[in-house]
């Protein structure tokens, strides 16, 4: 079986966010980069499914700046086999433009004999949280889709996919080829091995510069919400603080004295 997984490079912010001077991006000068945990699970699932099906390809795709090749290498290092880079100048593409470019890849791959039985996405991108690229891709390709997926089993020409619903878990039958947006918790991603890293270095990444379609929302500026920095009340140091903590629990009404 052939599986395509789409991942997005994002800065790995820590305890605080700092914006660039123009307020259009996170200041990432001192940050490392990563992908969403949802997407890490999509990568892991693709590797496992193709291993289990005994053949096929796993392709990882990203649309982003030159440096996003790092995230493709990370995915190759845990066992993906092909990588496609839609290179941009680094500006954020809106979800309509992103989806259109990804649809172009699925069609081009199909023309070259890589028919993707599954196209896997993260449920939402870590940074923009647009919640729509997977569904736009599915609609354009007229493929069945499901979002929020937290468990999946391939059964011949369909998958059984589970997700959390409002009244417990829902299980769906989804015929292949399909588009699934998955959530963290689907599996526990492996860490790359040293041989995996070495192998990843040797894979040739297919890079192209896509045409950008216009249409989606236009970002004007970012803002960090004013969080009143709480004046933290230090109750004490070490075990000696225990009586003060229990006093607090009593005063909050969380325990009966």
């Amino acid at each position: 079986m052939n599986i395509l997984v789409c991942v997005k490079r994002v800065p790995a912010t820590g305890g605080r966010v700092t914006l660039t001077g123009d307020g259009l991006a996170i200041d990432a000068r001192f940050l490392s980069f990563t992908i969403s945990p949802h997407e890490e699970c999509a990568v892991e699932e693709a590797v496992r499914l193709v291993e289990a099906s005994g053949g096929g390809t796993t392709t990882v795709l990203t649309l982003g700046a030159e440096a996003a090749a790092d995230q493709l290498r990370d995915a190759l290092a845990v066992g993906m086999t092909r990588a496609i880079h839609l290179v941009t100048d680094g500006e954020d593409w809106d979800p309509m433009a992103t989806a259109a470019a990804i649809v172009g890849v699925v069609r081009a791959d199909a023309a070259e004999g890589f028919d993707h039985d599954l196209v896997l996405f993260g449920n939402e991108a870590a940074d923009s949280g647009d919640y729509q690229v997977p569904i736009r891709v599915a609609a354009a390709l007229d493929r069945p889709w499901l979002t929020g997926v937290k468990g999946l089993d391939v059964e011949g020409t369909s998958v059984r996919a589970r997700r959390d619903g409002t009244r417990g878990q829902e299980v769906y039958h989804v015929p292949l080829p399909a588009v699934l947006a998955v959530r963290e918790g689907l599996n526990r991603p492996r860490y790359p091995s040293i041989p995996g890293r070495l192998r990843a270095k040797k894979v040739a990444i297919m890079a192209t510069r896509p045409e950008r379609q216009v249409g989606g929302p236009t970002m004007i500026r970012l803002r960090v919400p004013d969080e009143e920095d709480a004046q933290v009340h230090v109750l004490g140091t070490g075990a000696e603080a225990a009586p003060a903590v229990v006093d607090l629990l009593e005063s909050l009404g969380l325990v009966n004295p």
Binding site: Q132, R160, P175, M219, I220, G238, L254, V255
Partner: protein, 346 residues
């Protein structure tokens, strides 16, 4: 293209068989604010079993027009257990009525439904908005300005949404300020949505519902959450946190480092890609306070941080703190609770 709903602001109302969902009513308040600002009519749409009852209930919220499609007997028996159908019906409504905006709550269902409607009609969708208004100095029939959540809410984005018809979802907690009072209640006009045309798309089928295991305090609703992070050091020491949680009638939550290491299941993860919690007290033990964790616990009334590092980011978000090794502090708290014979508060 004109007709009844032309230029209207339409809200997609989710309902539990007839009872409008609180999140949808919050989205309705935001939609009402927009409709008033634009001088546009406000309408609603409700789908599935109980849609007609939901429409009647919406009369009490001042809605004069509600579009419905339902699978009660007598209707076409549309398969509402396939995720594609609601989006197809809304896409049809978008095409026939050309509303100014289609708005839903940013729930999983609301989001997925609007995303599919937007995809089918090739219209823009802004997700997780906290504010929406006419754009400054622009034709309100062509451009709206929105504020929306990024990074799970740790960053806000101001954006312009161009187009004569646009879609947006309203983030949880939005719409509190500047709420517009609802006009007097009445019986709304109920309009049955025309069939979306063609064969219904039933490729994706709901085949089973598994009820969540009963018992235990749910993380999202717990009154006290005892959180553990990398500082806990391994799976075994979580026994301590469980013991403290039990004494307080609460439950355990964890950071992503903990689930990533396999010490605890992902269902316990608090944060951007885990669960959002809103307890009266969150006791964060050995957790640094990365923004992706904080967005999951900012709903807590108070945070007590237990951390060896006086300068950890969590300290800037916490109400109370104990500086020290959790392996000494937590057992001492448990011992003190036992000594005083404390029981969980009512």
């Amino acid at each position: 293209m004109s007709g009844l709903g032309a230029g209207a602001v339409i809200v997609f109302v989710e309902h539990a068989t007839g009872e409008p969902a609180p999140a949808s009513l919050a989205a309705l308040a935001v939609a009402r604010g927009l409709a008033d600002a634009l001088g546009a009519p406000l309408e609603a749409v409700a789908l599935g079993e109980g849609a007609v009852a939901a429409a009647s209930a919406l009369g009490a919220h001042g809605l004069g027009v509600v579009h419905v499609a339902h699978d009660d007997k007598g209707d076409a028996g549309r398969p509402f257990d396939t995720p594609a159908l609601p989006g197809r019906l809304l896409a049809h409504l978008l095409v026939t009525n050309a509303p100014r905006a289609l708005i839903a709550a940013a729930t999983a269902r609301g989001t997925e439904t609007l995303a599919y409607a937007a995809a089918l009609t090739n219209l823009p969708l802004a997700a997780a908005c906290t504010q929406v208004s006419a754009a400054d100095g622009e034709d309100p029939a062509r451009a709206l300005s929105v504020t929306r959540l990024r990074w799970g809410g740790s960053v806000l984005e101001e954006a312009r949404l161009d187009g004569a018809t646009v879609l947006l979802t309203v983030a949880d907690g939005a719409g509190a300020d500047g709420a517009v009072p609802a006009p007097p209640a009445g019986a709304p006009r109920i309009i049955t949505l025309a069939d979306e045309g063609g064969q219904p798309d039933t490729r994706v089928r709901l085949v089973e519902r598994v009820a969540s295991a009963a018992g235990g305090v749910s993380l999202a609703e717990a009154r006290v959450v005892v959180g553990g992070g990398r500082g806990v050091g391994g799976p075994d020491a979580f026994g301590l946190l469980e013991e403290l949680a039990a004494l307080l009638g609460g439950t355990v939550g964890v950071s992503r480092v903990v689930t990533g290491a396999g010490w605890r299941p992902h269902s316990e993860q608090v944060g951007q890609t885990g669960t959002r919690i809103s307890p009266d007290l969150y006791i964060a033990c050995g957790i640094s306070g990365a923004i992706q964790h904080i967005v999951g616990c900012r709903g807590a009334r108070a945070i007590l941080a237990i951390n060896t590092d006086r300068d950890a980011p969590i300290m800037a978000r916490a109400t109370y703190a104990v500086v020290g090794d959790l392996h000494a502090v937590v057992p001492a708290i448990i011992a003190e609770l036992r000594r005083r014979g404390a029981t969980p508060g009512a």
